[in-house]
């Protein structure tokens, strides 16, 4: 039996057994059993994914398992990558969940049973090899995650609202994918992926375009891409933190997987405008997502909005790959797709770490609002270190994790300018500079965002009593963060461990023989004169720090360090209220992007009774609403509500009337059948 078969079978078995065990074991050990089982499930998933990426593949057909279509699973290299990522996130989240669920009152049966099943469903999505199987797994994934999102609905009313948003949006997305794939299947022999692949070659451009756009809508909504992102910053933060990590780091990836699978593999590449659309959606999502995150003061919401940003960057890579592939430059397309896939991996690593650290903050202080945090470095040093590492990784600075993938992405984009004077390259020539500008603006805003999150949340003085009394999390949570942290460090320093495999995957997905990326210590790109060695960069940086420390020892006076008062303008010790908060930190950016974010501010001045010149109190409120939501969703919701009100006239409460509706409809259908025959 191959590695893939053992891994996938093991994951399935472990997941289902864990769910069963969680039902029967007593509450005392339930968290530990479910957590350990999830770790085993995730580990087996990683094994299957790595096995598939390194060459072996698996095909299983179980025709009797589901009525009508049956189940067929195939794990190839592309699917393997996503399975491995999901498995890895599940391992960290599983360990973390052991303590987290126990201390947050989440060790009731519901959560503990659903959690491993959610992991199994996510592992199966990339392994599905027929439309029926794919849709079933997709829907299971959505359902289980919905149950987990609403886990805490009794404690906080926002959770229920987030759950409603999520339920509606995810099912709209599901319907879009369903319609798109059914239109596709109508042109094929049966609903298996090989049959679709065959049919994709003969599909008319109109039909192919329709399938692509409709499925794109569904996949984009899963990945939190504009304008279908509204559920993401609601649902991800409201879920329990280890579930947030799993959703934000792993559950958005099937959207990317579906796009690559349908666009490149099944439909065979398509035409230029598809990928320009993907590129544009990605660029807009990246900039808008990070802009919202830069304004945000809720730690977990900020991380959710940053997921939209990162998925936007991934889509920029996928779109660029499509643009290059359709214009014949398949080698560069391989580099762009490798950049996108590497960013999927990197994002999974650092977003897991960040969400787990945010959960730890929630555990230690009970607060998520950055304006109420601060000074956590004293009470929770390990969590601070973990969040710092994650923030460095997310802000695309060397030696952080995302730096490598964004570097790859930029390399692909800059070399994507067609040869000067070449005919027909105008679209690429205009799209590439704008894409580079969007990626650069995103990177810059991401730096500001994570400086804010880390600097305001963890450094400085505590801004509330809760933050002042922060305490470190139990060991299992620290181990979960540690695992994600190690993954971040390894990916940052030695991306070459995974990059050749990722390059091969992207080559296979695009139908190019050679891997797009190679190198042992230095990352080298196929067809592009670019090289980067993150390891050497880090070593050089460390050497320079050591050198500077040594030089300062030699040069500076040998006098002991003395503690002194802060510069307080002679006014006595400064209180925490004088500090810059997250809101004030983001204020200049908010002013600069005033026209884009349209903040709502409100200043109420209460005057003294005796004189208008004496001010008693000034109240200032600021809110940065999601403008897309305002302009796009609210009119739609209002229209739906109006229809609902109009429809109410049909329902008067009379039972006879309702039965009559059924009777008239039945007759109408029968008449229709009789007439049209």
């Amino acid at each position: 039996m191959s590695l893939v078969a053992v891994g996938l079978g093991g994951a399935l078995a472990a997941g289902v057994l864990t769910a069963l065990a969680a039902v029967v074991v007593p509450r005392r050990v339930r968290s530990a059993v479910a957590g350990t089982g999830t770790v085993v499930t995730g580990g087996a998933g990683v094994m299957a994914g790595v096995g598939a990426m390194t060459g072996s593949s698996l095909s299983v057909a179980l025709p009797g398992l589901l009525p009508l279509s049956g189940v067929s699973l195939t794990l190839d290299a592309l699917g393997g990558l996503f399975v491995a990522v999901t498995g890895g996130v599940a391992v960290a989240a599983g360990v973390y969940g052991i303590s987290y669920t126990r201390s947050h009152g989440l060790d009731a049966r519901g959560v503990q049973v659903v959690f491993p099943l959610f992991v199994v469903a996510m592992l199966l999505v990339p392994a599905a090899a027929s439309v029926g199987t794919f849709l079933v797994c997709w829907e299971l994934m959505a359902l289980f995650s919905l149950l987990l999102v609403v886990a805490e609905h009794r404690h906080r009313p926002e959770v229920a609202q987030a759950g409603r948003w999520y339920a509606v949006m995810t099912h709209l997305g599901f319907v879009a994918v369903l319609i798109g794939l059914l239109v596709f299947v109508a042109h094929a022999a049966d609903d298996s992926f090989p049959a679709l692949r065959e049919a994709g070659r003969h599909l008319s451009p109109g039909a192919a375009g329709l399938v692509f756009v409709v499925t794109l809508a569904g996949f984009a909504s899963k990945a939190g891409i504009l304008p279908l992102h509204a559920w993401l910053p609601r649902a991800h933060p409201e879920a329990p933190s280890h579930v947030s990590a799993l959703m934000s780091a792993a559950m958005v990836n099937p959207g990317v997987y579906g796009l690559v699978r349908v666009g490149f593999d099944l439909l065979g590449g398509g035409t230029l405008w598809w990928w320009l659309l993907v590129l544009a959606l990605g660029a807009v999502s990246a900039v808008y997502g990070i802009l919202q995150a830069a304004m945000s003061t809720d730690l977990k919401r900020l991380l959710g909005q940053s997921t939209t940003e990162n998925m936007g960057l991934v889509l920029v890579g996928v779109g660029a790959a499509g643009v290059f592939a359709t214009s014949g430059n398949r080698v560069l397309a391989g580099v762009a797709l490798a950049a996108a896939l590497l960013h999927v991996i990197n994002h999974a690593a650092f977003k897991t770490l960040l969400f787990l650290a945010a959960g730890s903050v929630l555990h230690g202080t009970g607060a998520r609002d950055l304006d109420a945090l601060g000074g956590l470095r004293a009470g929770m040093p390990q969590t601070t270190a973990a969040f710092g590492l994650g923030a460095l990784a997310a802000s695309a600075l060397p030696p952080g994790t995302a730096f490598v993938s964004e570097w790859l992405l930029l390399q692909a984009l800059i070399h994507g300018l067609p040869a000067p004077g070449a005919t027909g390259g105008t679209a690429a020539a205009i799209a590439m500079p704008l894409a580079v500008a969007a990626v650069a603006l995103t990177a810059g805003l991401a730096v500001a965002t994570f400086v804010k999150a880390f600097g305001v949340g963890f450094l400085a003085k505590p801004r509330s009593a809760a933050a002042g009394n922060a305490h470190e999390s139990p060991p299992a949570m620290l181990v979960g963060m540690g695992l994600a942290g190690v993954a971040c460090v390894v990916l940052a320093l030695l991306p070459t461990l995974v990059l050749p495999a990722v390059g091969t995957v992207s080559g296979v997905a695009l139908g190019v023989g050679d891997p797009a990326v190679s190198g042992a210590v230095t990352v080298r790109l196929a067809g592009v004169a670019g090289a980067l060695s993150p390891l050497m960069l880090t070593l050089a940086l460390l050497a320079a720090v050591v050198l500077v420390v040594g030089a300062v020892r030699v040069v500076a006076a040998r006098r002991a360090r003395r503690a002194a008062r802060l510069w307080d303008c002679g006014g006595g010790p400064m209180s925490a209220r004088m500090e810059y908060t997250a809101t004030s930190f983001a204020e200049p950016l908010q002013r600069v992007f005033d026209d884009v974010v349209r903040p709502e501010q409100d200043v109420d001045v209460t005057h003294h009774e005796e004189s208008r010149y004496l001010v008693q109190a000034v109240e200032y409120r600021r809110k940065v609403p999601d403008r897309v939501e305002r302009r796009l969703y609210e009119p739609v919701l209002a229209a739906v509500a109006a229809w609902g009100r109009a429809g109410r006239r049909l329902a008067t409460g009379s039972v006879h009337r309702y039965l009559g509706y059924g009777f008239y409809t039945l007759c109408a259908v029968l008449i229709l059948v009789a007439v049209t025959r």
Binding site: G421, T423, T426, A429, I430, P433, L434, D595
Partner: protein, 224 residues
Amino acid sequence: MNETLFVQLLDLACGGLLLTAVLVLWRRELVVIIHVFAVQGAALAALVGVLAVHEDSIELGAVAAGVLVLRAGVLPYLLRRALASAGEARRETRPLVNVAASLLTAAVLTLLAYAVSRPLVELAPSGLMSPATQAIPIGLTVVLIGFFVLVTRRRALSQLVGFLLMDNGITAVGFLTTSGVGLIVELGVSLDVLLAVLVLQILTARMRETFGDTDLDELRELRD
């Protein structure tokens, strides 16, 4: 003149044309805008001059001299005189679109100009992709930026500059496509422009006498 030097000089002149157009959009002081406009006139004259030397055409040389006198000398002089009599309103205080946004719009307009003029550039016989036709998009960009200035500025004088910017762009495109539209045509166009400026100048003077300001938004009140 050898070919590479010709290309470099031509590109430089075009670059100057574009840069000055951007500067008109960027700056608020009307005095500076008029200066920049004069520099653009000189760049346009240089463009025509380079073409003249390249083609050894005396006629084009004469046109270049004419362009220099009119666009770097007479028109800026007239504008300055209009400004001097304007009194206090020396700044474009509140453009309809703020400066940062209008600069970003200019970026988009440039790319648009490049995109739409591709077919025009590729129309040139293959193998003979002359550097002059390559530079057409720049002329078109100047036209679009001029139009944008015309649309978004409030002061009559900066609108006038926008109009002249458009004209500079059109002239540049004319010379770049055909390498000279003929002396007579150019003379006619120049006279037209001169006349237009004179008329507009008188108009602004009358407006100021009547309303005490040249903020064009206030013209709306005439309707009521």
